[in-house]
Amino acid sequence: MSRAILILIGLFASVSSTLYAGDKKGQSIAIVFRPLYNGKEIFDTSGTSPLVSGDTFSIDQIRFYCSDLCLLNGEDVVWHDKEKSHLVDAGNSGTLHVNLPGAGRKYFTSVRFNLGIDSTTNVSGVLGGDLDPAKGMYWTWQSGYINLKIEGICSKCDGRKYRLHLGGYAGENATIQSVSIPMLPGDREFVIGIETSEILHSVRDGYTCSIMIPGKQAVELSALAAKMFMPLK
């Protein structure tokens, strides 16, 4: 009798251990953002961006807020990130890797997040962490987060510099974008490409070298920015 009990305990411990290991393994999944220009990686591991095309054009900075991240099974949200927002900075490789704690236990078919900060957060006063205004993604001349910053050099722009600071949260100037990307469970890392060639098309032509305020241009480019994101595997 006692031997049978011992065997049962042993079996239980073994199964539990296996399940726990699997669970632990399943928990450590992450999204990895990969900034691209015409399909090629822009930044190396040190966060340095080489000139894309001779000395006429470069991308020196890409920063954006990835907020309200969740995983869905069909239409149902099965996992929701406890962190409100992640500031992703292409020049800081650590931020390109967003962990999804506990998500490995879930079955999901897509990931969804907001590119930018919602209006409620924008009117909630000062916040900490990645939303601290000291992170350099908050306007000073008027209130509001900058949802996406892309900066660099373009010989067709005055002063050879271009700056796209896309933000605005109120009414028709709202620039927040919802991004959904299909995914399949199984991998531990989901790589999302950020293809910038389309949004920078008008910069390269010298038409749009500076957007620093909310408005129609910011809204239009933000809609284009949402299309930068695509699954790579």
Partner: protein
């Protein structure tokens, strides 16, 4: 047993009373005033947080050349604004484009700045710190200086439990101090509270009646503002070309709309208007009676002419002077925290 129960209850009551008193000392809504719009639950006031904010408010360390502090343009004795020039000036003598607004009762304020560009008190200091014509600095650089200073790490530890200095803590503490700057002890307030021996003169009473008839809609009691925006018929300054609220909203209905300022301590907050164009209250009243520039975007409240006799104008000014709150202007808890900075110098 009953005796112990009584002792327990009395101790509890005393502790509760002490707690209430402590809280009341940090911020109290004056009797008859509306509930504040600021959400104190998100930024609980503490003596230490207020003191830190006060130090920051008076410290020129936040400007690029360490010469201009918040208090440079917001002097307590003149209702937390400046009076010696119409437009604010910043580092290296640079002249800005607007008259600094008087500061008080910010827990009830809506949008801030003359054009409503700032949507929350917590983030308001970012604007003057970064403005080239004011402090011409950045939040980042400010934090670096604070971390290196002999004074601030300990003040942050006292306020927040450790010496970590972040933008969030920096801004919260400034809010904490600014929230305590409440003006509610003018003669007007004391009359409204029916304090013994305090009453309006006949002239002031008549001024109040006229005020309620002609001004109350925008300068609503007891805050003497609706916190809204209005086009009050000022012709545009051809040099500054300041369009006010329209710069932020882009709406064709908003040109020359500026924030309606509170009239509390208006005796000391001259010059008046967003560009400080009027030096005296008499000029302001003359503008409303005979200087308004009519247009499609003039605020509705000013479309009918305001007619006041010379005597009525004097009565109106007599009433406005009852909004002076000397206790506020000389309250030492709002003043330069000399004890902090002197100690630092000795160290």
């Amino acid at each position: 047993m009953r005796k112990w129960l009584l002792v327990f209850l009395l101790t509890g009551a005393a502790a509760g009373l002490s707690f209430t008193r402590k809280k009341a000392a940090l911020f109290r809504v004056p009797d008859g005033w509306p509930a504040p719009t600021y959400n104190f639950a998100n930024n609980r006031l503490t003596n230490e947080g207020i003191l830190l904010g006060r130090a920051l408010f008076y410290d020129p360390i936040l400007s690029a050349d360490s010469t201009i502090s918040c208090a440079s343009c917001h002097l307590q004795y003149t209702a937390f604004t400046h009076v010696d020039h119409n437009l604010s000036h910043g580092i290296y003598g640079r002249i800005g484009t607007r008259n600094s607004p008087a500061i008080s009762n910010l827990a009830w304020s809506g949008l801030l700045m003359w054009d409503g560009a700032v949507n929350h008190l917590d983030v308001q200091p970012l604007a003057p710190i970064a403005n080239r014509d004011e402090m011409d600095f950045s939040l980042d650089s400010s934090l670096i200086r604070l971390k290196r200073s002999a004074l601030y790490p300990s003040l942050f530890r006292n306020a927040f439990g450790d010496t970590t200095i972040t933008g969030e803590r920096f801004l919260r503490s400034l809010s904490q101090f600014m929230l305590t700057i409440v003006s509610s002890n003018s003669k007007y307030d004391r009359v409204m509270r029916h304090e013994r021996g305090i009453e309006f003169s006949q002239q002031e009473q008549n001024g109040l009646k006229l005020f309620r008839q002609h001004c109350e809609t925008c300068h609503k009691e007891p805050l003497f503002t609706t916190s809204g925006f209005a086009n009050n018929g000022l012709p545009v300054d051809t040099l500054l070309r300041d369009q006010g609220r329209m710069r932020i909203t882009g709406k064709p209905s908003d040109p020359l709309h500026f924030k309606i300022p509170s009239l509390r301590n208006v005796e000391f907050s001259y010059p008046y208007m967003h560009d400080g164009r009027f030096e005296r209250l008499q000029q302001v009243i003359d503008h409303y009676t005979s200087g308004i520039r009519h247009s499609d975007v003039l605020s509705q409240e000013l479309r009918e002419p305001i007619v006041l006799s010379a005597n009525e104008k004097v009565d109106m000014i007599a009433f406005l002077l009852t909004l002076t709150d000397k206790a506020f202007l000389y309250d030492t808890s709002f003043s330069y925290p000399r004890f902090l900075f002197i100690r630092q110098t000795k160290e």
